[in-house]
Amino acid sequence: MLIAVIVALAVGTFTFRFAGVALRDRLDLPDGVRRLLPMAAAALLAALAATAALTEAGAAAGIARPAGVLVGAVLAWRRAPFVVVVVAAAATAAVLRLLGVP
């Protein structure tokens, strides 16, 4: 049973990943639509970042994590180096939790 679940997940996930790559060639997309694809990806990534920052299992994610992400986002906006953004976000959340902030 377990092996069936893992194989189904693996095959399904790979199919999604590969389908986009393969479809890109098969569908002769007009330039207007092609121009939308990076925007669609940006929207998905922004939505991933936003939901990961703000929610946990369908509910609000507490304070420490959104605060950490906010610090990282501000630093990114000010063009801080990527590593600084990531470390500052993690450190902020970790320190807040250490202080007992949820």
Partner: protein, 264 residues
């Protein structure tokens, strides 16, 4: 009236290493460092996956197999929870719903995988949120292609190495939230997509998409809200406000647009 308020540009600082001239075959040191930062976080989260899976009674071989052949962190955590709860079908369904977003990713960055089938098959398997984001953050062409493969391979190795470490350490692997890693990933994604958001249309699409996803998250099963972010593309089809407003409309309440009112 538009106040021209530009963002406080950090004077004279180049935003990104743009590799002027020449075609260095190596990966830029900035990209190497950036990917390494995310890879380090992935080792830690992978370790927590390994520890949680083994702790939930998943055999070691299955835990390691999930990281290498499914290779999708969110779906793996979700599947372990649902398998442990005795719902294998839900584990597959929920995991696949969560991973459906990879299809549009493939549409967007498919060209970086090249024309060879072997590359396409391998590259598809390496396609994660982070690899896609690192890739799209680079200028089109060679830099984008190189960033995808570098991030894709390094992150795959990091995730799988982390899983093995977690399996070995068990409960000692620790909770990634203690280290704040749950904040590190969204912050990293935001940093990667910010350059793309300088484009006004992309920014509007992404902001609306993110808003739709957050608002619908409490209402829908995981995975769907992020897919719904694609509705953000709708802003491109709204009647566009003309940028230079020549004259303010006669004051006295809502300026009636000559076309239709909002048709909600």
């Amino acid at each position: 009236m538009r106040t021209v308020k530009r963002t406080p540009g950090p004077a004279g600082r180049t935003p990104a290493p743009s590799a002027p001239g020449g075609r260095p075959r190596s990966i830029g040191s900035a990209l190497r460092r950036d990917v390494a930062a995310i890879a380090a976080a992935m080792v830690a989260v992978g370790a927590s996956f390994g520890a949680i899976a083994v702790g939930a009674g998943i055999p070691v071989w299955a835990t390691v197999a999930m990281s290498s052949i499914v290779y999708a962190g969110g779906a793996q955590f979700m599947a372990v929870g649902l398998i442990a709860a005795g719902s294998p079908f839900a584990a597959v369904f929920a995991g696949l719903l969560l991973n459906a977003r990879h299809l549009p990713f493939g549409l967007a960055i498919g060209e970086v995988l090249g024309d060879r089938w072997s590359r396409r098959l391998l590259g598809s398997h390496l396609m994660t949120d982070e690899a896609t984001a690192f890739s799209l953050a680079q200028p089109e062409g060679e830099p984008r292609r190189r960033a995808f493969w570098f991030a894709g391979i390094v992150l795959f190795l990091a995730w799988n190495a982390g899983t093995v470490v977690g399996v070995l350490l068990g409960g000692a692997a620790g909770d990634p939230a203690t280290l704040g890693l749950d904040a590190a990933f969204p912050a990293g994604l935001i940093a990667l997509i910010l350059p793309a958001l300088r484009d006004r249309d992309t920014r509007r699409v992404a902001l609306l998409g993110a808003l739709v996803a957050v608002v619908t998250t409490p209402l829908l099963p995981a995975g769907l809200p992020v897919l719904l972010a694609l509705t953000g593309l709708a802003v491109l089809f709204l009647p566009r406000r003309r940028d230079p407003v020549p004259e303010p409309p006669p004051s006295g309440g809502a300026a009636a647009p000559d076309r239709e009112e909002s048709t909600c």
